[in-house]
Each structure stands twice: as C-alpha cells, then as structure tokens.
C-alpha cells in the first residue's frame, strides 16, 4: 500500500504553506519531504512555512526530515520556517540531542510570515495574498 496520509501544501504568494494536521507515520513524512521539494521546483516559491502546532511529538526521524527539507530548500534558494512547535516538543528535542540546523522556528503563522517577509522582498501581490491568508488562519 501507498497508505500515506495526504498533507496539503498550499501556495500563497511566493510561500508554500504546509499545515501538518495528522500524526504522521514515517512513510507520510518521507512523502511530504518529496512533495515539498517538487512543489518548490515547480512553483519557484521562495519560502516554506511548516505548521507543526498539532504535532504532539517530534522524534529524531521527523527532526531530521525537517532539517533536510530546510537544507534542500536553501539550495533552491528558499528559506524554511517551522511554526507552532509546542514548547514541550522543543524541550524534548534538545534533550534528545537534536539541533534542527538551518531551521528557524517561531510561535505562529503570523510570525512565520513576518520572518519570511523580512528575509525576502516578497512581491506586492504575494504580500497581499499572505496577509489575507494569515487573517484567515487566525479566524478559523
């Protein structure tokens, strides 16, 4: 079976937004990595924003994939921001010995978008789209 759960990848302005809303098995994690990279290639997006606020745990496998995504995205000239990491998850990750090299982490989607905007001069259109999206996320 290709039983991997489907995680949406949204393109908003020049940013890919990946809201992880399920507890992913390893196969799903690997597929997600492949899909993000091919979407980056296809769309030329300059940023990746991965929302992990619903993840109750990040182990060394998921942690490594997040680092790998960031490293590969950077080669394709895109920056990766992980948003919504639970404090308990951050604490556990450090105790486990992981560093999430090359990944910036902020509290929520708003801050993530602000960070990506600060890094790139995202085009006017994209900026408007992103603002609208952030609004929408905040008022579910």
């Amino acid at each position: 079976m290709d039983g991997s759960q489907r995680i949406p990848i949204l393109k908003v302005g020049r940013v890919l937004i990946v809201p992880i809303q399920v507890d992913m098995d390893d196969q799903t994690v690997m597929h997600l990595q492949e899909r993000i990279l091919s979407e980056l290639e296809r769309t030329g997006a300059r940023g990746v924003l991965i929302d992990i606020s619903l993840l109750e745990m990040v182990d060394s496998f998921i942690g490594r994939v997040l680092s790998d995504i960031a490293a590969m995205a950077r080669i394709m000239d895109a920056r990766t921001v992980v948003v919504g990491m639970q404090p308990a998850v951050a604490i556990t990750l450090v105790e486990l010995g992981l560093e999430l090299r090359g990944v910036d982490t902020v509290l929520n989607v708003d801050e993530g978008i602000r960070l990506l905007r600060g890094e790139f001069g995202i085009d006017e259109d994209g900026e408007e789209e992103l603002s609208a999206f952030a609004e929408q996320i905040n008022r579910p």
Partner: protein, 132 residues
C-alpha cells in the same frame, strides 16, 4: 493501572506505540513535558525494533516503587540480530542505518533509568523508567 502490550509489526505501529504511551502517561498524571518525553522515547525505540529487530513488541507498565512512588516502565523487545557492540551503539551519532544515531543515547537522556540487554542472534531488550 494494568500493563499494555503493543505488537510492533510495521511502521504504523510506531504511531500506535507513541500515542498509547502518551495516553497512559497522561492517565498516570505525568505533566505535558513528561508525556512528550515518554512518547518520543516510545517512537524512537519502537522504530529501532522495526528497523533493526524486524518485529517485536512494546510493554507499557505503570508501577509503584516499594516506597509508593509512581513510575512508568516501557519495555521494547525483539528477536532480531542483536547489537554486537552496545558501547558503540550508545554513542551519540553512531548508526548502522541511515539514522542520526540519537535514538539510544537520546532516549537515555529523556528517562530516569535505562537498561539495554542484547545478544548477537538472540535479540534486543531495552527497558526504560521515568518517575512521576
């Protein structure tokens, strides 16, 4: 609270093992950070059972010390190839797979007690305890 045994057969059982561990830890009264530590340990060690041991099981055992202290014991066992050099396997960054080599040394840092017994050809058993 009774013990719970979970079959570790394929990758999806890793998800079951970590979710069950979190549920049991919460029921015993562990706080959020400890719940996260324990489910992360379950995820790492269940993956090792499947990746290196082939298949096996996890037993989650709530228990009380003689002094009345509450704890959670997690046992991971398989009949796989075993670990020839345990000292090497416990080193940060050592992996015979394509892993980060953080599973064993990292989970050791997340628990209060950590024991590993392994014989080449005879399988591996990792037992961890975290006190409430």
């Amino acid at each position: 609270m009774p013990s719970r045994s979970i079959v570790l057969d394929d990758e999806h059982d890793i998800v079951v093992a970590r979710n069950e561990t979190r549920r049991i830890a919460a029921a015993i009264g562990f706080g959020l950070v400890d719940q996260t530590r324990l489910s992360t340990v379950a995820s790492e060690l269940a993956r090792n059972v499947i990746k290196y041991g082939g298949r096996g099981r996890m037993i989650a055992q709530p228990f009380q010390s003689a002094a009345g202290r509450q704890g959670l014991r997690l046992i991971f066992e398989d009949d796989g190839p075993g670990i020839p050099d345990i000292a090497a396997a416990m080193r940060d960054g050592f992996s015979t797979g394509r892993g980060l080599g953080k599973g064993l040394p990292g989970t050791k840092r997340l628990v209060d007690e950590f024991e590993i017994v392994s014989t080449v050809g005879g399988g591996t058993c990792v037992t961890v305890v975290r006190w409430l």
